[in-house]
């Protein structure tokens, strides 16, 4: 190939890379910064497919939101903080109004873009992960750990254990082991467990598992000596199936293991084989394809060959429906914002923040969306950026997750004071003046 040909090709490539020209004004751009490679690809691909399938379904079925089509571009973060920041910077100015909202899908990346997004006025939704004390919207105006944060989830777990034991007063003298991934993510629930241990009189032992967690013999021997009544499994990636397999080897009953939702997906259970049978996990979304919204995804997206998954067996898996729930929350917030700032017009990040803060997904709205049972109703406010939604507990029967509880409410009387204390400490350290929520309109 001669030089002219090379430079022509290079020019053509450069030209094609330029942003799309006019006609793009009726679009709402949402960055798709997820991960399709690396050790956590199972969760990254599932969640990405869910949220993008839902967007594609809205585009196909309703022509977007009030005529505003949803667009997105993918960027590979590799679950790496540095790459996540690069993707954030690359995507934040795209589309007619810039990035609407970010889903970092990694606690580490959420931390890394927290201040940047606040300065750039782009809301960050860290659904079921991220910085817990960001639930205080006065200090963190642009960060939304929606639905249920780790501390709330943890109080629901203790309540669930209480139910199983036959009442919260029966928790006295019980032993609970907290087996956690030794990272910022894993350590997040230690203080809330300590507070509850004091309140209910149970004894809690924190046992760290070094990253990545593919060797847990000594931790489980410690658990065997301790003989705890329950084990809370706060795992991530390969740590979760390894924990289940090692538990089977030391003979710890699996139905006494309660996992966090990042340990409770098909991708965590199947690799552990029979060892996984009977373990319980928390969840803020349910798996399955029977919900009308999932049927719409199948009909409008997969039937037309536009789905994200190549492997149809993953449709309706926990991570997939979690992505769909993220899609519902995101688009409902856009809809809310459009109602205030102009229907059928793309909204900015700042308007999106208002949209999320005034989000109210009621039972009736869930019915219209066809997502009753898929998720619990959700209401966000300026004060409360979380929603404190209830948690459902699911048990792995060897083939699928089956619900074993109702929606268990969280205990905000424990969580909220801790969040406010932690957030005000952050405000103090970083010289932030908290907003006055009564003045927000």
């Amino acid at each position: 190939m001669n030089r002219t040909a090379i430079s022509t090709a290079a020019l053509a490539i450069a030209a094609a890379g330029l942003p799309a020209p006019a006609g793009a004004q009726m679009e709402q751009f949402i960055p798709a910064n997820f991960y399709w490679v690396g050790p956590y690809a199972a969760s990254g691909t599932g969640f990405a497919a869910g949220i993008l399938d839902y967007f594609a379904m809205l585009n196909e079925r309703d022509k977007g939101i009030n005529g505003v089509r949803l667009t997105w571009e993918k960027c590979e973060t590799e679950y790496n903080n540095a790459r996540g920041v690069e993707c954030y910077e690359r995507q934040k100015k795209k589309g007619p109004t810039g990035a609407t909202v970010m889903h970092p899908l990694s606690t580490g990346i959420t931390y890394s873009i927290l201040e940047k997004a606040t300065a750039d006025k782009i809301p960050v939704i860290s659904m079921g992960y991220g910085r817990t004390d960001a639930s205080d919207g006065r200090v963190f105006p642009y960060i939304f750990p929606l639905i249920t944060n780790y501390w709330s989830q943890n109080t629901a777990k203790i309540k669930f254990i209480g139910q199983k034991e036959g009442g919260m007063d029966k928790l006295k003298g019980k032993k609970i082991a907290n087996l956690y991934h030794d990272s910022a993510y894993g350590k997040e629930t230690i203080p809330v467990l300590d507070v509850q241990a004091k309140k209910y009189g149970f004894q809690v032992t924190h046992i760290p598992v070094p990253h990545p967690g593919n060797e847990q013999q000594s931790q489980w021997l410690q658990i065997r000596q301790l003989k705890p009544d329950w084990v809370i499994l706060r795992g991530w990636g390969v740590m979760s199936p390894t924990a289940l397999k090692t538990a089977a080897r030391v003979g710890y009953p699996r139905d006494k293991i309660i996992a966090v939702w990042w340990s409770g997906a098909e991708e965590d259970a199947i690799p552990a084989g029979d060892a996984a049978k009977g373990y319980i996990t928390a969840g803020f979304n349910l798996p399955g394809t029977s919900y009308p919204v999932m049927q719409d995804v199948l009909k409008h997206v997969y039937k037309k060959g536009k789905g994200e998954f190549e492997d149809p067996s993953r449709i309706g898996s926990i991570y997939h429906t979690r992505g769909v729930v993220a899609g519902i929350v995101t688009t409902e917030a856009i809809r809310t914002a459009q109602e205030r700032f102009g229907k059928g017009k793309p909204i900015t990040g700042e308007q999106m923040r208002w949209g999320i803060e005034n989000l109210n997904i009621t039972e009736a709205r869930l019915k219209q969306l066809g997502a009753v049972g898929l998720m619990a109703p959700l209401k966000i406010s300026c004060m409360d950026h979380e929603g404190g939604g209830p948690v459902k507990f699911l048990q792995w029967d060897g083939k699928a997750f089956k619900p074993v509880s109702d929606w268990v409410p969280t205990d905000q009387s424990i969580v909220r004071p801790m969040i406010e204390a932690s957030a005000s400490q952050y405000a103090l350290d970083n010289k932030i003046t908290p907003r006055d929520c009564s003045k927000e309109k």
Binding site: W36, N81, A82, S112, S183, A184, Y426
Partner: protein, 358 residues
């Protein structure tokens, strides 16, 4: 033709010993500095400044630190990320607990803390060499992260072990915008790179290289083994520590100890292997290759699917990137085992003769 040194005579020792003896090089480096200090902050957008150039400079500084130790003094180390972590978390503590100190002294003190840790973990180098030493520094990598995660004081008792970098103020001017952060990083990197270049041309640098080439011979000609090796560890760790502090303060903002895992140590090691072992320029070239190339591949694959209209599955593209990147590393190592810096040197030699090679 343009790059010819004919007619440039050196008439004093000072001229003979300058860093860039060829005039064209001096002009080139001056132009580069002008572009980096003045043009780039003016024309560069936020994406380029904060997502591409700043991390590149910081990792180049870390690679420079490792190059002093591994490339010049010949001591293999896998503890780079740990030294960076010491720098990052100690800088946080100095700024937090001694706010009157100012940013630069805090960073220097943080670098000195990293140097002290490097000194301690350099002690085994007096007895063991090569891969065995690498294993000893591996211990440092795990030990340091373990301490940071366990000892609450270091993270100011943050429950999740995460620190948030404070805004630093320099001469009453806050380093908050991407351009300011870039310039701050660039200034520190430029000063430290100059210092490293001169250090390597000094007696100390020559002692390092003598130890690298054959330590028995070096000790026979009177180079003190203990002092030289430990000094190499200390200086190298100082550079890495400052790089770690910058990584927190001018790049990520909020970091958890997991930002400094073994993975980062390996990446820095790959940077000097690809860039050129024992070369200041190589540290920069290697950092550019390792940090920027995956991003380029990512952007390029987007263009390609845009251009061809082929909707290639993103999972395939993501995996292809990793495959291509790995393949290129192997290709470069086979074609030029001495790294990109050596390629640059060959190009320069060819240019001197061009257009009449003999």
């Amino acid at each position: 033709m343009l790059y010819r040194e004919a007619g440039q005579f050196r008439s004093s020792y000072a001229e003979d010993q300058q860093i860039f003896p060829i005039r064209q090089d001096r002009i080139g480096i001056a132009l580069l500095l002008v572009v980096a200090f003045i043009v780039v902050p003016l024309v560069g957008n936020q994406y380029w400044l904060s997502a591409i150039l700043t991390p590149f400079l910081i990792l180049a500084l870390a690679a420079l630190g490792l190059n002093i130790l591994t490339g010049y003094a010949g001591q293999l180390s896998l503890g780079t990320a740990a030294f960076m972590a010491v720098g990052a978390f100690m800088a946080y503590n100095f700024v937090l607990r001694m706010p009157w100190l100012g940013a630069i002294p805090s960073f220097i003190l943080a670098g000195l803390c990293a140097a002290a840790v490097g000194f301690v973990f350099g002690l085994p180098s007096l007895r063991i060499k090569g891969f065995y030493l690498a294993v000893a520094t591996l211990a440092c990598q795990f030990f340091v992260l373990w301490v940071i995660q366990r000892w609450g004081w270091i993270t100011n008792y943050s429950t999740s072990g995460v620190i948030t970098a404070q805004t630093i103020v320099l001469f009453g001017y806050p380093i908050a915008t991407p351009a300011a952060k870039y310039l701050f990083t660039l200034s520190i990197v430029a000063v430290l790179a100059l210092a490293a270049k001169n250090l390597m041309r000094s007696e100390t640098g020559r002692a390092f290289m003598a130890v690298r080439d054959m330590d028995v011979a070096a000790s026979v000609i009177g180079i003190p083994m203990m002092k030289t090796k430990l000094l190499a560890f200390a200086i190298s760790s100082f550079y890495c520590g400052v790089a770690g502090a910058l990584y927190t303060y001018t790049y990520l903002g909020t970091v958890e100890p997991e930002a400094f895992t073994l993975d980062l140590s390996f990446r820095v090691l790959f940077m000097i292997i690809i860039g050129g072992i024992g070369s200041i320029l190589g540290s920069f070239l290697g950092a550019a290759f390792i940090t920027l190339f995956p991003i380029f591949l990512n952007v390029f694959s987007g263009w390609l699917s845009h251009l061809t209209g082929q909707d290639i599955s993103h999972a395939v593209i993501s995996n292809l990137e990793v495959i291509i990147f790995g393949g290129l590393i192997i290709f470069f190592l086979i074609v030029e085992p001495n790294g990109l810096a050596r390629l640059w040197q060959i190009a320069k030699e060819k240019l001197r003769l061009w257009p009449f090679p003999h």
